[in-house]
């Protein structure tokens, strides 16, 4: 899969110390490879050592040296000293959105545009014998039909056996598409295409797929690459039938005789982890299960493709304009310079919207054949079936600890199915949340005849946290410790520990943890409880992050970047960063993004965007300002170095009384516009040229009310305390955290892809029986932000999209336990499951008494 985004590996290595070996398995971050002091990485230019604010204001704030490019903007003070950054600026495009003036991909209508409709397989496993389109072609208004020769977005075998058509491996698999002058016409005509299938055995149940003799999804070794949003399966692991794995990660130990001569360390063996567990004072052993969740963005996947001889223009609902361009450029063998992808507004992606997709490739073929623009937006049904999901998980966890709570061993064996895709691991939280000398995670992907997984808001983490953070609570109970006190004991010496400590402190006070009652102590049928869970996320950087800032003679300022605003508000964030640098207001800055004609921007996945694009925005603004000063210094009778802009006024620092307005100053330029362009530099190193830590995450507390007679769980309140480096816009951050919490509750209580295993077909392909949280299910959400400076870039900011949805389901489950004394080991927590858990808890109790 073409993917230009470079991603640094998770920055989850702990601070130096005894636990330094625990988080092996992560590749050496590309952006964090050692460079000699005084010199940046490739294309980074010379550096100098400067002191930057580091730590948490009010707790650990101090100054430390970082190697910074000599031509970069000066060090930014903490937020309390800034004017635009760190302020609650309303969305710059909010009014356009609420008035309907904002045009999303589905709203794009071009002259002569045709409407495309997908042709998909109703069968989960089949060989296509023939396709007859002759009747459909004659249907009134039909202009083009295209049949795919390759399926995108699924795992592939190295040697796919050459049938005439791609093998059908899931119900809903795209086969082709049809374009007509109306959507209704395209739909009717699609039904006239005759496809002869030779149906094959199939398996959609994950545990049945693991059995020997189960129908195999792929006859040979298959792998799915990740996208800019993450996901995908590890390369080079064994595949036995439908089971692919294990991928072994965790503690690394020296390996004197490695199988791979390049390796110097290896993960623990089963014997080693078993021994470590055996030596523990207290042992927790439990199994947790999570369901398949579909992304269900309100705006479905789709494009408007306009294929012209000299230029392919595509409006796409995507998280990565460049990822769409690159795939179409490769498939159609057109130079990247002749493909333009535009995403002005975007209605949700959650990780599933990278690349052109089958629908995008098909729409482009149809446009090429019909010589007319084609709009192809997926139906809700196709959206559920064919463009991604969060894999399920079956997690077998063992945790060993000393009597004082110190962890001695963590062992996770997890299986999950990403259907015909991979990336079902769930070990992230087990590997990275707490300090432990012996960690082994064994993760398996299980292929089934179902739609492919795609990266989904913190791939692997919500499912992993649901299991692991409940197991930590189980351990606390067995140790007779308070769950927060245990976390205080074991969350030490890691990148995240300082921030987590502050977050626990704030959250515990706000939720009223001190008044928490013992599990199940409420009388009456409605029982209340509170629970807590933590999250970690990584600091990924995309170096394909460029900005251009122009200052025009009328005093207007424009930023241009290919980066897209996927609804999270990066346009507003960029306006704040440029305004801060230019001494203007965010409303003075025009932001143009979401167009591959602009300087290349990052794909928005992995919570990468704010971290990646704000430093070049700041640097481009800083350099454009220098260009402006060069233009006007002489006219103003000042030197370039003496000029400054404060509150919209330009003046020489030595003569503030001669200030003129920014607009008037720009009017003195000898040319229509000046500007500058900047690219993302590598993450800063410390004075010794070493990588510096920095990760994100948070702590969430949930309060629930459980009707123990009906099994209904109501989340009444969530306190979410998070950090993401330097917060640029607390209002937008709160908005994203609200969304993460809501999606987390939806995952915990309602969402579930239900497949009828006798036919291999999903049966709730709508938003009625695929249940998503509604307005009445949204609790009171209180969000709190911790500022934490690492000194890793000129803005030191990071994203929040992913960490804010990781802990919710686990916090809710721990709260349900606190309310009822019944542990819910499988989500969604439907009344049926909650009643069953309550009944089995009561049975155990009555058997004991």
């Amino acid at each position: 899969m073409p993917d230009e985004t470079t991603k640094t590996a998770p920055q989850q290595n702990p601070k130096p110390g005894p636990a330094a070996a625990q988080n092996g398995g992560a590749q050496t971050p590309r952006a964090a490879q050692a460079t000699p002091p005084g010199q940046g990485g490739q294309g980074q230019g010379p550096t100098k050592s400067v002191d930057m604010p580091i730590g948490i204001p009010g707790a650990t704030l101090h100054k430390a040296a970082r190697l910074v490019g000599v031509d970069e903007p000066p060090v930014l003070a903490p937020n309390s000293e800034l004017k635009s950054i760190g302020k609650r600026t309303a969305r710059v495009d909010g009014k356009l959105k609420v008035t309907g003036a904002a045009k999303y991909t589905a709203d794009i209508n071009l002259p002569g545009m045709l409407f495309g409709m997908m042709i998909t397989s109703p069968h989960p496993s089949a060989i296509i014998r023939s396709i007859d389109t002759s009747v459909a072609e004659k249907y009134p208004g039909v202009k083009a039909i295209h049949i795919l020769t390759k399926v995108f977005g699924v795992a592939q075998m190295a040697s796919e056996k050459d049938d005439k058509y791609p093998r059908i491996r899931f119900a809903g698999q795209p086969i082709g598409a049809i374009a007509a002058t109306s959507l209704e016409g395209a739909e009717e005509a699609a039904r006239l295409i005759k496809i002869e299938y030779d149906q094959q055995p199939f398996v959609t149940d994950v545990e049945k797929a693991m059995q020997p003799g189960a129908p195999v999804v792929f006859e040979g070794q298959a792998v799915q690459a990740g996208t800019a949003g993450g996901g995908g399966g590890p390369a080079n692991v064994k595949q036995n039938g439908n089971v692919r794995g294990p991928s072994l990660q965790g503690t690394r130990v020296a390996d004197p005789a490695p199988k791979d001569p390049r390796a110097t360390t290896r993960s623990l063996t089963t014997d080693e982890i078993n021994k470590a567990l055996k030596d523990a004072d207290v042992l927790i052993e439990s199994e947790y299960r999570t369901q398949v969740q579909t992304h269900s963005a309100l705006e479905t996947h789709g494009v408007v493709a306009d294929f012209k001889p000299d230029m392919l223009t595509v409006w796409a609902s995507t998280q990565g304009t460049s990822s769409v361009r690159d795939e179409l450029s490769a498939v159609f063998e057109i130079a990247k310079s002749k493909v333009r992808v535009i995403t002005e507004f975007m209605g949700g992606g959650f990780g599933a919207k990278f690349g052109a997709g089958n629908f995008g490739v098909l729409a482009t073929y149809l446009s090429k054949k019909a010589q007319a623009p084609v709009k192809l937006m997926l139906s809700r049904k196709d959206e559920h079936l064919s463009v991604g999901n969060r894999p399920n998980s079956i997690q077998k966890l063992r945790i060993g600890a000393k009597k004082d709570g110190t962890l001695t061993a963590i062992h996770l064996v997890s299986h999950g199915t990403g259907g015909v895709g991979t990336g079902a691991g769930s070990g992230g939280p087990a590997r990275g949340l707490y300090k432990c000398p012996n960690i082994l995670t064994e993760e398996y992907d299980v292929f089934t005849h179902a739609g492919p997984a795609a990266s989904f808001r913190a791939p692997g983490h919500p499912q992993g946290a649901f299991g692991f953070e409940q197991a930590i609570d189980e351990l606390a109970e067995k140790l007779g410790m308070d769950p927060l006190a245990l976390r205080e004991k074991i969350d030490v010496g890691l990148d995240r520990s300082d921030a987590h400590r502050e977050e626990r402190k704030v959250g515990a006070e706000k939720i009223g943890w001190a008044n928490r009652k013992p599990a199940g102590s409420d009388t009456g049928p409605i029982k209340r409880g509170i629970g807590v869970a933590q999250s970690i996320w990584y600091r990924f950087t995309s170096r394909d992050s460029n900005c251009e800032v122009k200052i025009m003679r009328d005093g207007s300022v424009q930023l241009m970047s290919g980066v897209q605003d996927i609804g999270t508000g990066i346009k507003t964030v960029l306006a704040q960063v440029v305004a801060e640098e230019l001494g203007l207001k965010p409303s003075d800055i025009t932001i143009r993004v979401g167009d591959t004609n602009f300087p290349a921007g990052p794909s928005s996945g992995g919570s990468v965007t704010t971290n990646s694009i704000t430093p070049p925005a700041r640097e481009a603004a800083f350099k454009a300002k220098q260009e402006l000063f060069k233009e006007i210094a002489q006219t103003l009778g000042a030197t370039v170095d003496d000029l400054t802009i404060v509150d919209g006024k330009v003046f020489a620092k030595s003569h503030p009384e001669k200030a003129i307005s920014f607009r008037a100053a720009c009017g003195k330029m000898q040319t229509e516009e000046v500007g500058a362009r900047a690219r993302r530099r590598d993450e800063y190193k410390d004075a010794q040229g070493k990588n510096v830590p920095g990760a994100t995450g948070g702590v969430q507390f949930a309060q629930v009310a459980v009707d123990t007679e009906t099994g209904q769980v109501k989340v009444e309140r969530v306190v979410a305390v998070h950090d993401c480096g330097r917060p640029i816009n607390p209002l937008l951050l709160e908005s994203q955290i609200n969304g993460g919490v809501i999606q987390g509750i939806s995952y915990a209580l309602y969402e579930d892809r239900i497949i009828n295993h006798r036919t291999g077909r999903m049966i709730n392909t709508n938003l009625e029986q695929y249940k998503i949280v509604g307005s009445l299910e949204v609790p009171k959400i209180e969000t709190y932000l911790i500022e934490e400076y690492w000194g890793r870039s000129s803005t030191d900011a990071a994203g929040i999209g992913e960490p804010c949805t990781v802990a919710t389901a686990a916090a809710v489950a721990n709260a349900v336990y606190n309310a009822t004394g019944a542990r819910i080991r499988e989500i969604p927590m439907t009344p049926a499951r909650v009643l069953a858990a309550l009944a089995s808890t009561n049975n155990v109790r009555s058997a004991r008494s």
Partner: protein, 326 residues
């Protein structure tokens, strides 16, 4: 969706005169649009009855009771002061159905004759018994939302929120065809699949519902409605109960307990009613009635949880009615 003709009817006579092969009446169009999109209905012609004057009235007579036009919307029922004060279970059922947008569009007549929400029936790819096939997929698995009573040969639950209270209040439906009018008790209007698996009621091919009549509740009548969904916003019930109790002081003279989301028709829980009649209602009696109500249930592989759930909801609804108002 296939191409079709659209005609506007300005009177009931004009509407029913057009009924025949391939002709479908359209009121709010809420359910019909879903059915057409999935090709479960492929009409040649839609007759729009939504603009027929006079069919959207809520009328009340102290002697004959409530007369509702078929175009009365669920939102109207929810908001109507008289319905709310005298027929609270009907108002609550209407007000808790679907979403505000749907309640504004959905007509009472359409609500009563809407097709079931069974996910096999609703999916074109499942040729189930209801659609002329020979399999009830629900009987073989993934049946957590299906019927616990009368689930053979077809395990749908009746989808109408309004039907449950209307049966409990003893409502009658006025049906009109080109030949004239007839009246039928709501309870007899709905029909089990073992009579005809392809349909859920006795409405003839040339008939439409022209009025819904609800008698005046006897003095001392108290009622309550409970909907239990998996969630509160926009969800179908997994258990739904209406209790209409005719009280003489503290003694129950007559009881009507009707369950929704339990059976292919609104399910009259006579075993519960008989427990209550002639007795003073208290927690223990309500508990016994609830237990009796589900004694004859026959759950499928994944809906056994509904038994305990119904037991709780029935008990709560009886007690709510007893302590509540008309």
């Amino acid at each position: 969706m296939n191409a079709f003709e659209w005609t506007e009817a300005t009177s009931v006579d004009q509407a029913v005169a057009q009924l025949g092969e391939g002709v479908v009446l359209k009121a709010g169009g809420v359910d019909l649009l879903d059915l057409m999109k999935e090709h479960l209905v492929e009409p040649k012609r839609l007759v729009n009855i939504r603009n027929i004057v006079g069919l959207d009235k809520v009328e009340h007579d102290e002697r004959t009771g409530l007369k509702l036009g078929p175009l009365v919307t669920l939102a109207q029922l929810d908001a109507h002061p008289l319905v709310r004060s005298r027929y609270v279970a009907l108002a609550d059922a209407a007000g808790n159905a679907a979403t505000p947008q749907i309640r504004n569009m959905a007509s009472l007549g359409g609500n009563l004759v809407q097709r079931p929400r069974c996910w096999y029936f609703r999916n074109e790819q499942f040729h189930c018994k209801k659609k002329g096939g020979d399999i009830c997929y629900a009987q073989r698995g993934e049946n957590q939302y299906h019927a616990i009573f009368n689930n053979d040969p077809c395990a749908i639950v009746h989808p109408s929120a309004a039907a449950t209270p209307l049966v409990a209040y003893g409502a009658t439906l006025e049906l009109t065809s080109p030949k004239g009018k007839r009246e039928i008790l709501a309870e007899q209007f709905f029909q089990l699949p073992d009579v005809d698996v392809h349909r859920e009621n006795v409405l003839a091919a040339d008939e439409m519902i022209t009025a819904i009549k609800v008698p005046v509740p006897a003095p001392g009548t108290r009622a309550a409605y409970t909907k239990q969904g998996e969630k509160e916003s926009q969800d179908w019930p997994i258990a739904e109960v209406v209790a209409v109790l005719e009280m003489d002081g503290e003694t129950c003279k007559k009881a009507s307990i009707v369950l929704g989301a339990a059976s292919p028709v609104p399910h009259r829980a006579k075993e519960a009613e008989s427990v209550l009649v002639g007795k003073k209602i208290d927690e223990a009696l309500a508990r016994e009635a609830a237990k009796n109500a589900i004694a004859s249930a026959d759950p499928l592989s994944e809906n056994r949880y509904k038994l305990g759930l119904f037991e709780v909801i029935i008990r709560r609804t009886i007690l709510a009615a007893q302590g509540g108002r008309a």
